[in-house]
């Protein structure tokens, strides 16, 4: 019965519109990459390829071109919010079909993006961020598909972390050590040689491997619990930021970071952001930056402090703690949240 209740749950759908925008753009980028590969290398069906589907299902060149056009069109329509859900579904399904036609082009990030896009198209993501209906605010809508998007994010982390955990070389740091050795030369151009040489130490690779496995496991599970979620999200942002800087992973980091949007509390403007008389400019700026509609924005002429934030429980925060609360709910400032949390930490008596 609990499962049925979970399937019938309805929550605010505003943020899902942003999810649609993000995934339609990512999928469009992937489609563009495929089109560029077609232009540069020619049609994959004319050369050596390994389909996962039976060979008879592999489309002809003309059909393949048409499918790419359909996929791109679906992405554009989904982005604009015109027939958004069918358009995104068609784009994702077409992409998945083409993807299964050649396992040589398989990449985990592409597969994850297609699965997430397919699930996003099943969410009520067509109620906000619409080009033809500006100001649409979402409203209550079924939540089950959004939870499925979250589950898909977790599955990728879980499969990846368990694979690493059961691999002796990975767990022992051997795999990472080789990658660090390749990165050492690059790093030594930026930092002193002694610091860069740490990368080649076995203990460092071992520690980094364990950290990566633990991080991925924590991301897979921690995103689901209310108390651990903000920390998991912060860790995820750092984790993918690090990957993006150190490795070429196509759209993987962006895909996972956009997937985090489903873990945002759906309800809007539960916090309050109050600026003093001198905060006219930041008031305007942060109103724009608040794309997830986390805050009710106010400007108080009588307020002496520049900024006061009020959290969901109605507690007011002043000074650095106010900036901490602001960074917690404002995506562009989110990386600052843990440093500010540490800076403002007071042990409970």
């Amino acid at each position: 019965m609990k499962l049925l209740g979970w399937l019938g749950e309805e929550r605010e759908a505003y943020v899902l519109g942003l999810l649609r925008i993000a995934f339609s753009l990512l999928l469009l980028r992937q489609t563009y990459k495929r089109a560029r590969e077609l232009w540069t290398w020619g049609y994959f069906g004319h050369v050596f390829h390994l389909p996962l589907l039976p060979e008879a299902f592999v489309p002809s060149e003309a059909t393949y071109r048409a499918l790419l056009v359909v996929q791109a069109l679906g992405c554009v329509l989904a982005f604009l919010g015109i027939f958004a859900r069918p358009a995104l579904f068609t784009a994702a399904f077409t992409g998945l079909f083409v993807f299964l036609c050649d396992r040589l082009q398989y990449h985990n990030n592409r597969y994850e993006l297609l699965l997430l896009s397919l699930l996003v198209s099943l969410t009520p993501c067509d109620r906000s961020f619409l080009a033809l209906r500006r100001g649409a605010t979402g409203g209550l809508a079924p939540r089950w598909a959004a939870r499925a998007v979250g589950a898909q994010v977790s599955i990728a982390y879980l499969a990846s972390s368990l694979g690493k955990l059961f691999d002796d070389d990975w767990r022992g740091g051997v795999v990472m050590a080789r990658r660090f050795a390749m990165g050492q030369a690059r790093l030594s151009r930026i930092v002193p040689e002694e610091w860069a040489s740490i990368l080649t130490r076995p203990w460092f690779a071992h520690a980094a491997s364990l950290s990566a496995i633990i991080s991925e496991l924590f991301l897979a599970l921690g995103l689901w619990h209310r108390r651990t979620r903000p920390v998991a999200l912060w860790l995820g942002v750092m984790f993918h930021g690090g990957i993006e800087i150190s490795a070429n992973v196509e759209l993987f980091s962006y895909t996972m970071l956009c997937g985090y949007l489903v873990f945002v509390t759906p309800e809007l403007r539960e916090r309050r952001l109050s600026w003093g008389a001198s905060g006219r400019r930041p008031f305007a700026l942060f109103r724009r930056l608040d794309v997830l509609a986390r805050f009710r924005h106010e400007q108080q002429a009588a307020q002496s402090e520049l900024l006061v934030t009020t959290d969901r429980e109605g507690r007011a925060h002043h000074g650095l703690a106010a900036w901490r609360e602001l960074s917690r709910a404002m995506p562009p400032l989110f990386p600052l949240w843990i440093p500010l949390w540490i800076a403002t930490f007071r042990p409970r008596r």
């Binding site: 050369v47 906000s128 599955i155 499969a159 539960e270 106010e298 969901r312």
Partner: protein, 226 residues
């Protein structure tokens, strides 16, 4: 200067909407009343705070954004069925993928730091013996059935990285097994696409391997011409 925002309605609204959802879904006694409470709370929320919507937009949104009729049990079961099928298929794909040589569908990111060096040969007959002739730069020439010299090119069919890179130490994406599996398939494909070559009996690849930094064996792969 205050921007117009209503009182924080969330706790009340969320509680009433949640109760309405739960009771409504299962036909609770007060389901209808609580559903309407949920709607009223949501309307209040949209009017009061919302997202700086214009009145007309807010009106449009209220008409579309409010909770619809409660899903029937059949709808809920259909959703459950879809999720079971979707994730069941995906998990099957993962379990199959982690056992597949190229880990396809398995979400095994950065699984190895292995390297391969591929050297390519043609097996030809010379004085009753079969000998290996190195293929230099991926290109070779051989006469067809009419005795006309034909040129063949490894890269014309094999465009997947790192398979098209010969005699060079290359990173093996998705691991050694993945690249050896793909190389075997590439050899089979190439051998099947050189019917004009009447001299070559088979294509052979010798692959020097380094598995996660440790030197591995030299693997020999072979594809006979059909």
């Amino acid at each position: 200067v205050h921007e117009r925002h209503g009182p924080n309605p969330v706790a009340k609204r969320r509680a009433s909407a949640a109760t309405a959802r739960l009771n409504g879904s299962f036909g609770g006694k007060n389901g209808a009343r609580r559903r309407s409470e949920g709607r009223r709370a949501d309307q209040k929320h949209d009017e009061g705070s919302g997202t700086d919507a214009t009145p007309s937009a807010a009106k449009k949104c209220q008409s579309s954004g409010l909770p619809g009729p409660d899903p029937s049990k059949l709808t809920l079961l259909a959703r459950a069925g879809f999720l079971a099928a979707f994730f069941g298929l995906e998990l099957y794909g993962i379990s199959w993928g982690v056992r597949a040589p190229d880990r396809v569908l398995g979400f095994q990111m950065f699984n190895e730091s292995s390297r391969v060096t591929i050297r390519l040969y043609r097996e030809v007959k010379k004085k009753r013996h079969r000998v290996l002739v190195p293929i230099e730069n991926g290109r070779w020439s051989a006469p067809d059935a009419n005795g006309k010299l034909r040129h063949h090119d490894w890269f014309s069919r094999i465009q997947a990285e790192p398979l098209y890179v010969l005699n060079q130490d290359m990173h093996a994406p998705y691991g050694l097994k993945a690249q050896l599996f793909r190389l075997q398939a590439a050899l089979d494909d190439m051998a099947a696409h050189i019917p004009d070559d009447t001299v070559t009996l088979a294509l052979v690849a010798k692959v020097d391997t380094i598995h996660n930094g440790r030197p591995g064996p030299t693997v020999r792969l072979r594809a006979d011409k059909p």
